[in-house]
Symmetry: C2
Amino acid sequence: MSDLISFASEARKASRKMAVIDKESKNNALLAISAALISNKEEIFRANAEDLRKAEKEKLEGPLLKRLRFDESKLKDVTDGILSLTKLEDPVGKVLLHTSLDEGLELYRVTCPIGVIGVIFESRPDALVQIASLCLKSGNAVFLKGGREAFNTNKVLSEIILKAGIDSGLPEGWLHLLATREDVTAMLSLDKYIDLIIPRGSNEFVKYIMNNTNIAVMGHADGVCHTYIDRDADIDMAVKVATDAKTQYVSVCNATETILIHRDILDKVKGPLYESLKAKGVTIYEEGDVSEWHHEYLDYKVSVKVVDSVNEAVDHINTYGSGHTDAIITDNDETARIFLDSVDSGSVLRNCSTRFADGFRYGFGAEVGISTSKLHARGPVGLEGLITYKYKLTGNGDIVGDYAEGRKTFKHIRHDV
Amino acid sequence: MSDLISFASEARKASRKMAVIDKESKNNALLAISAALISNKEEIFRANAEDLRKAEKEKLEGPLLKRLRFDESKLKDVTDGILSLTKLEDPVGKVLLHTSLDEGLELYRVTCPIGVIGVIFESRPDALVQIASLCLKSGNAVFLKGGREAFNTNKVLSEIILKAGIDSGLPEGWLHLLATREDVTAMLSLDKYIDLIIPRGSNEFVKYIMNNTNIAVMGHADGVCHTYIDRDADIDMAVKVATDAKTQYVSVCNATETILIHRDILDKVKGPLYESLKAKGVTIYEEGDVSEWHHEYLDYKVSVKVVDSVNEAVDHINTYGSGHTDAIITDNDETARIFLDSVDSGSVLRNCSTRFADGFRYGFGAEVGISTSKLHARGPVGLEGLITYKYKLTGNGDIVGDYAEGRKTFKHIRHDV
């Protein structure tokens, strides 16, 4: 623990320096990191082979092994990612607001880094590289903890990235890899040093994090997403979209878990919908079978409920959903308006698949995560989730006494930015 | 507690309805509330007289009595405030971003209310009216808890406001007044129903709130603000600004508590500065006398420390400050840049008084509070602190399968908004 505090204190100090590094230096550091990954690739692959051998011995499942593997193709993905990140505009130093409070008394709201970010992620070594690059680009120091299956790969990757960063001018301690789950538990109490935690991975783990820290947490514990087929839906569209929303990729947070159907359209839609879902291997659970409407299957399974109105659909979603992503299929503009305005979720969709709710598909370039919190960042989060702002006010010896005692009055002239 | 849960559940339901009320209806409700306050003013003044009698019996101090008083002049202030609020643009429904993901697949980021806000405030009945109006304007339901000295006045005010709101179309339960400190403690566990807590009042109380809830908290526990007099400061300006920052109003969070002075200018500035401060009755504590640099006097007292560089000043502020408001006095642009970029506070100022850091002076019209948190809202917070956003995506039967399997590609055309 005392070691961890000294690392955290070093990260806090590093974050002060990261905040004032100019955009060219950050981009140069990113390119240096990319080059270092390529020139040290054999070492990375060796460490990854060791992780893979262990994982096979522990009988890790196929998809997990695939995520754990870090090979030439993954290396190309992450170095391509770094290159595209260097081309994005600098998220730091943007002027969001400019008001002249009075002549020569100028107020600016300017973006700046958050400080120290703690990120906990699944056993995917490429995620480590992505997260480290995003934090660097946004001027934050970072605490990283990856899945234990990837420990050897992560250790080599983080050493290479840390060193290449420092060699090109980043401060000591700008990146630190946590080794154990106990380190994560200890990190949760370091609210003096860490400003934001972004947990990824299993729902249970994210919930545990959210319930055990005073540090702000960005992320989502559940993705209980709905597709509501309204009375005024086009039948073909409803079947096509609901099938995509359920089956296009079942193990992700924006897959639909419950389909709500308006009673008036049930007879027409049920036949083709069930046929389409069953053709993809989906098991359908109706009213009587569902023990818990707040249920995330992450599988070829779906709950179906019949409702009598759009308002009942909205109430169901606001009661049992997770505030993640919910869609309506309808040709009726007024019904769509009620649904989109009333459903209290990060993403609300009309006539398209819940699977679209994702930072890359939304065009944000980089995805930090998807947030079901309503504060700071909501829904799919791009680089702006790693950014805050501060006010800068510059004057010429201005004092409040002059305004309080009526010798001067505020002008408050808002300028376009 | 079970009563409180039912009120909170009613507030949650009300918040869903508040979110979709159009701007005219919200403004009409505000005007109806203003009219109801005026026509029921005798009842309000009677309740206030009772509170004042009790407070005098309990020997409440003069300034506190003044804040507790609710008379014709305070009534005019709050009804004027409501009127100006009706003239502000609606904070809900603003489009912040519009991207065509593909032809006819349109993504919008749109502002919306947060939901249910819990506000705890000092014994100032006019604050109740202001907070209730701000929550209404921003489409939020609200839980209110005022200082116990104002209980009778707050009870009458909240009944009038709740009823006038409902009579003009707001949902039942859109506003609820908590009666006791035990209610506040109970509220802290209602994270299922309450989205944000805004505590005002004593530092100890705000700290208690922050440490005892999973609900997001917006506000500040401390205002340990600094004025740094740099080597390149204009002496007259430094004396004038530092004196204003310390003495213009000592009992507020943006008053300066510590003055840092560069060693190279000490001989020149010390004489006139100390003379000016002492003329206002300020006691000066120097290095040897200061037991704790993180100290908020809220009084005619100030700590003074000599530093050897702008970097030492920045380190001192980032170590002992509270991230609220800090100023530099300097004629050197490069030194100012280092200070403004490196000090990690909500407001960073050059050549003006820390007392300017305030929502009204910043031109935000309404002030919700000042936040030392870095997430969601930072520094002085206007109506935007009561607002979040959601993504709305509308299509024509679009499915992700078409993009995943290469039949379509995203266009991501960003539109001006």
